[in-house]
């Protein structure tokens, strides 16, 4: 569908409000073909509004939303056909509980105009994908939450979409079901090359699945980039474990000398643990710090460059953003 290098989704300076509430304020991002992308943010930040805009369920107040290069909102034949290329899994599974899982999928396939002779085969194949082929005739109302979520994913996959949009795919699931769903998504991204856009509060999951992300806070974008870019944007933190501990282990003059280095922003000694904060992007000076310590006869047991987790980056971004807005 369209140019393989063209972004699947383009969000360009999008504003959307509901009455007096401004849900989105100037959000811009692009979703590229074959990538796994996450929209993060607290409840009410504007994640669902963004997804609804991509799906053409809402109309932006200003700015532009493009799906496969076109405005997804108008109810025209072009958009009717385009919807076949998008699989959607919402936070609540939104399945027909009185129907069996097979009936749910057959109904969905029929809505998309799939030929009758192909429907059974595709439904079975999607159920096999999510490991529900043996429970195909069972009423969905009797399923566990994990099974329902897997069926919701099967319903999205049965269309053989190019893009899969997931809203909180593992929320409310027990740890076992969470792992099952995550493994399923990993298979889809890595083996099937599906383009994936997801929202989640589980930052571990996002870290495992997605390469690029944005953080929305109160409708505004507070962070955007790939995980490595976001980490690079953080101040490198060096943890140096010293052989000995106690007062005077680092001489006052050495301490001052290290603090005065242009690439060092902060120096802290706790017990035998020396923490050195460096300027952004100046990791190459780590060796100089270590050499000066060694030169002064300070015994070093271990050196570790601390990598901030996505959770820490996220919390810092939302806190900074909150501080700026206040």
């Amino acid at each position: 569908m369209g140019n393989p290098k063209q972004p699947v989704v383009i969000f360009s300076n999008v504003f959307k409000s509901f009455g007096t509430v401004q849900a989105l304020r100037g959000i811009s991002f692009e979703l590229l073909p074959g990538e796994a992308f996450a929209i993060l943010g607290h409840n009410g930040a504007g994640k669902i509004t963004s997804i609804r805009l991509i799906l053409g369920l809402l109309k932006p107040d200003s700015g532009a939303v493009r799906l496969f290069g076109h405005d997804p909102y108008p109810e025209d034949e072009l958009n009717r056909k385009r919807r076949q290329h998008i699989g959607v899994v919402q936070e609540e599974d939104r399945l027909y509980l009185q129907m069996s899982s097979e009936e749910n999928l057959l109904f969905w396939l029929a809505l998309y105009g799939v030929q009758k002779q192909q429907r059974k085969e595709r439904a079975f194949s999607a159920l096999s994908w999510v490991g529900l082929e043996k429970r195909g005739q069972g009423k969905v109302g009797t399923y566990s939450k994990g099974m329902r979520r897997r069926l919701a994913i099967a319903r999205a996959l049965v269309l053989e979409p190019q893009v899969l949009i997931l809203d909180e795919p593992t929320v409310g699931l027990d740890p076992e079901a969470r792992v099952e769903v995550r493994e399923l998504l990993e298979r889809l991204i890595h083996r099937e090359g599906l383009t994936l856009l997801m929202t989640s509060h589980d930052l571990d999951e996002v870290e495992k699945l997605c390469k690029r992300l944005i953080v929305i806070d109160h409708g505004q974008m507070s962070l955007a980039g790939t995980l490595s870019e976001l980490r690079a944007g953080q101040q490198p933190e060096l943890s140096i474990k010293l052989v000995r501990e106690g007062e005077g282990i680092i001489h006052e003059s050495l301490f001052q000398e290290l603090t005065a280095l242009p690439f060092v922003t902060r120096l802290e000694l706790n017990g035998n643990m020396l923490t050195v904060m460096l300027n952004k992007g100046e990791e190459e000076f780590i060796s100089q710090v270590v050499a000066r310590l060694a030169g002064a006869g300070v015994g070093i047991a271990e050196v570790e460059l601390y990598q901030r987790s996505l959770e820490e980056i996220y919390l810092q971004a939302t806190a900074n953003h909150k501080g700026n807005s206040d």
């Binding site: 109810e75 056909k81 998008i86 959607v88 399945l95 109904f107 969905w108 029929a110 809505l111």
Partner: protein, 255 residues
């Protein structure tokens, strides 16, 4: 196949539910009890003292039924079914999922309304035929009175009453999509319909006893025309609202 037709067929699946059949049986039995069985004793008692009044009652009872009950029965059955078809579909978010499919919002409304019409109208028709059929079969035997039903009464019961009810019901279906709290609308509609049905029946009975000469012709062509005019106005209103039906407006009120 057209997706609208697929949705229409899916909604017809409600007919498989025991709750649908139980509601239909219960309300049908209630109608037969009120309009076939109960009048027998009343008319019999009155006939002993005043055969003329008994004659009048035998004529007016089917008219009372035709004036209000098909409309009431249609709306009440519709509202029972529409809680799942319209309200829960919206509040549970399945409507939002349907909007991500090739279906358009207006098509969803049309498919749902047509499915409910197919489920409700034959039932109302069946109850009307049963009531009139039993009246014409049982009353002459039990009461020794001639039973005849006029064309205007019959057309009111099987055609004009349900047509007006369908207009009202379709409007409620449309409003359920448009308003922010579809559950409240559903509950209010149900209780108002319930109260109007029972209250109207009671009021008509009271009127019938107090002013029988004026009510000898409860249903006449002018009354039918009023029903038709209201139905027409409702459809004009529906068409106007349909022009304003906007996906953005509907989705923004979803959780």
């Amino acid at each position: 196949m057209n997706p609208m037709l697929i949705l229409f067929r899916k909604e017809l699946g409600i007919a498989k539910r025991p709750t649908y059949w139980a509601s239909c049986l219960l309300m049908g039995a209630l109608m037969i009890w009120i309009y076939v069985h109960t009048p027998i004793e009343t008319i019999k008692t009155i006939a002993q003292t005043s055969p003329q009044i008994a004659d009048y009652l035998a004529t007016s009872w089917p008219q009372m039924f035709a004036l209000l009950q098909p409309l009431w029965l249609f709306l009440l059955t519709w509202l029972l079914l529409s809680s799942e078809v319209f309200t829960m579909e919206k509040t549970d978010g399945r409507l939002e999922m349907l909007l991500t499919t090739p279906l358009h919002l207006r098509e969803i409304w049309v498919a749902k309304c047509l499915a409910l019409l197919v489920l409700v109208y034959p039932y109302v028709l069946l109850v009307s035929c049963l009531v009139f059929g039993l009246q014409s079969y049982v009353w002459p035997v039990q009461l020794g009175l001639d039973f005849h039903i006029s064309t205007v009464t019959l057309s009111m019961a099987v055609c004009v009453g349900p047509l007006l009810a369908f207009g009202l019901a379709a409007l409620l279906g449309l409003l359920a999509l448009m308003v922010s709290n579809a559950n409240v609308l559903q509950s209010i509609s149900f209780f108002v319909t319930f109260a109007v049905g029972f209250g109207g029946n009671y009021a008509l009975s009271a009127l019938q006893k107090q002013a029988m000469s004026n009510l000898s012709e409860l249903i006449s062509w002018p009354v039918v025309n009023v029903y038709l005019a209201i139905a027409l106005m409702l459809w004009v209103l529906i068409l106007l609202l349909l022009r304003r039906l906007d996906k953005d407006h509907v989705v923004r009120y979803m959780a």
